[in-house]
């Protein structure tokens, strides 16, 4: 009975529960911001670190929590829930998980409030820190920014789990018995991400963005807007939220979105193409712009991040390029090779080496269907074709150009033949190279 609890203990317990609830929300929301969290240990107690844990207080989150609590405390029949959901740039949203702080009637009368309950609540917060990195929403939240953001909503009262879809799983973080009831912290999370996958994974913008982050040089360090999500202090980047969220007062963004909404959709392209700073900051970008990789004929604007890897135009996503490390450098290599007399000797027929053949195929697959020289059918004479042959010719044409051409290097005959040709033409090539030896020496000097 409550009468067994001294008034001081009761006051302490209420305070503990209140701050426990606030810290719970902070931990959950911070774990879904999309970035790694780090706080420092301090051997001297500051007096402001509840439960002896360094958990920062994001003011907006505290404000929302207090608003939801509205002066009440989580109690029996009054659960506090934090709902995490995902919202795409097109406005679709999906609930991912619901964290519930509940209390049941099972009381532990003998437990010491100021000591045992406090320490056990601290332990429960540590468990919450660990578990928030384990549920599926964590990985999603780390990749947010371009195509979707993660939102949170705090509500009080009955737990609502219907939005999590069929087959949702539950994980219990822990329980702490108190003299007025047992506190339980748990999470129910969606397992069926099917709704998302058909839309989300068609455009793998964020992932490609991360690949590009690794391999493209960035002399400018002001790339904050390229990271999936960076939390900004209030007032710094208010323009980051999606316009579509304003209709729901209760829904708050945890991710203060990297790029402003105006840059989210690039005209003429599908999906979220990651952006770079407006100025092409090095020769690589300029060279990329020269390569016609968009079948729709648009020459890439200087301000757009461009490489064949990212061009999602049409369906010709160059998966080969995606798999290649340093894929961003491939076009440059392409360019170099096209002009380099070592690889492309002037008198040689096309394609005289497997490498050249594959270069041709590569560039043709990039341009997504534009006929290259080696696809022109020499005996195609429309002027002389008979009427009844026309459908056949058209059919043949269509069949031939329907699929990307097979790589010459994959065709054994061609490679065997060109190997033999290669060997035969070696003496000629060597003679040419010897003639141009000065040029090569100069080139080697520039590399040093």
């Amino acid at each position: 009975m409550d009468s067994d609890l001294s008034s001081q203990d009761r006051k302490d317990l209420d305070k503990f529960i209140k701050f426990f609830a606030l810290k719970t929300v902070q931990i959950i929301v911070q774990a879904r911001l999309g970035e790694k969290i780090s706080t420092c240990s301090s051997s001297s107690p500051t007096g402001s670190d509840w439960f002896n844990l360094a958990i920062k207080d994001i003011p907006e989150v505290t404000h929302e929590s207090k608003k939801a609590l509205a002066g009440q405390l989580p109690g029996i029949g009054r659960s506090m829930c934090v709902e995490i959901s995902l919202k795409t740039s097109e406005g679709d949203s999906m609930e991912l998980e619901t964290w519930c702080l509940e209390m049941n009637e099972k009381c532990d009368k003998d437990i010491k409030v100021s000591y045992t309950v406090y320490n056990r609540l601290s332990l429960l917060l540590k468990s919450l820190l660990a578990i928030t990195r384990v549920t599926p929403a964590y990985k999603l939240s780390r990749k947010q920014g371009h195509d979707y953001v993660i939102l949170y909503r705090i509500y009080f009262g009955d737990v609502q789990l219907t939005g999590l879809g069929e087959g949702f799983q539950s994980v219990r973080v822990g329980v702490v018995g108190t003299p007025i009831g047992t506190i339980t912290l748990s999470c129910a999370y969606r397992t069926n991400l099917a709704l998302m996958s058909s839309r989300q994974f068609e455009r793998t913008g964020p992932i490609m963005g991360i690949i590009i982050d690794h391999f493209v040089e960035r002399p400018f360090t002001n790339m904050a807007h390229m990271h999936p999500c960076s939390y900004r202090t209030p007032g710094e980047d208010e323009g980051g939220t999606y316009a579509g969220i304003e209709d729901s007062q209760e829904v708050c963004t945890t991710s203060f979105s990297t790029s402003p909404p105006s840059q989210m959709v690039v005209p003429g392209k599908e999906g979220g193409v990651p952006q770079v700073p407006a100025q092409p900051n090095h020769g690589t970008a300029a060279e990329h712009c020269r390569i016609p990789s968009c079948p729709n004929g648009q020459s890439p604007q200087p301000g757009e991040m461009h490489s064949d890897v990212l061009c999602m135009c049409g369906t010709q996503v160059t998966t080969t390029s995606l798999d290649l490390p340093f894929a961003a450098f491939t076009p440059r290599a392409n360019d170099l090779e096209v002009n380099d007399p070592m690889v492309h000797p002037p008198p040689s027929p096309a394609p005289s080496s497997p490498l050249q053949g594959s270069l041709h195929s590569n560039s043709s697959s990039h341009s997504g269907g534009q006929p290259q020289d080696d696809f022109v059918m020499v005996d195609f004479k429309p002027a002389f074709s008979k009427d009844d042959l026309l459908p056949m010719d058209l059919g043949t044409f269509y069949r031939e150009f329907q699929n990307p051409p097979q790589l010459a290097s994959l065709s054994i005959d061609v490679s065997a033949q060109s190997m033999a040709e290669d060997l035969d033409s070696l003496p000629e090539k060597l003679a040419i190279y010897e003639k141009n030896i000065d040029e090569f020496d100069a080139f080697v000097d520039t590399l040093q």
Partner: protein, 218 residues
């Protein structure tokens, strides 16, 4: 009082051993570390603050939380590196076990040395697998990440049973319960040991230990 023993098993690729062990050990230590105690007069004490930080694994699709203490991290990394080397050098099928034991010291009268009484032992059995190609490695990254997630949930379940914990000590007893050597956090007294299983499936060192214990019991 009986020592509580928990066993966790993981199957990982060679290059994942270190991170998998760090993830599990740090998750346990996160729960078994407090802030530094500052004893005041009248027998009261205050507790320092424990910070935490996220650690992304390079070879596993997993992020774990550890206590923000570089000193503690160094100690754990050293132990895990030794275990990994021993696993690599053992020439066995790549099976071993690393144990994290929490204990209390009980002062004995001279000439007997202090007794170490374990109150919780976590044993992590490791099975190293070899993978043939990059595709299998990619699948392994994800699978091991999921498995580690399950281990974290298991650990949290055990910890939240709120079974025996040593009583909070007085100032004179604090070194019998906690490791006070670190400057920023204070884990319970712990020790990390490991065993490599030979190809017969028997552990060489446990056989020795059993022998010694049996001898002493006489």
């Amino acid at each position: 009082m009986n020592c509580r023993s928990e066993v966790l098993e993981v199957s990982v690729e060679g290059r994942q051993v270190e991170e998998a062990m760090l993830a599990v050990l740090h998750t346990i230590l996160l729960h078994r570390s407090t802030g530094k105690f500052h004893y005041k007069k009248e027998g009261t004490y205050s507790i320092g603050t424990v910070g935490t930080q996220d650690v992304d694994c390079d070879f596993i699709d997993f992020t774990f939380v550890r206590v923000s203490s570089d000193e503690l991290d160094r100690v754990i990394r050293k132990a895990v590196a030794e275990f990994k080397d021993a696993l690599g050098n053992s020439g066995s099928d790549g099976m071993g076990q690393i144990s994290l034991e929490f204990y209390q010291k009980k002062k004995s009268r001279w000439p007997f040395s202090d007794e170490c009484i374990p109150w919780e032992v976590w044993s992590i059995k490791v099975n190293v697998v070899n993978l043939a190609n990059e595709q299998e490695r990619q699948i392994c990254r994800e699978k091991v990440g999921e498995k580690l997630g399950e281990k974290v949930i298991n650990i949290v379940e055990v910890i939240n049973r709120h079974d025996y914990l040593p009583k909070m000590p007085t100032q004179s007893e604090v070194d019998n319960v906690f490791d006070t050597s670190l400057k920023d956090v204070q884990p319970y007294l712990y020790k990390i040991t490991y065993q490599i299983t030979d190809s017969l499936g028997t552990s060489v060192s446990t056989t020795m230990r059993r022998l010694i214990k049996d001898t002493l019991a006489l």
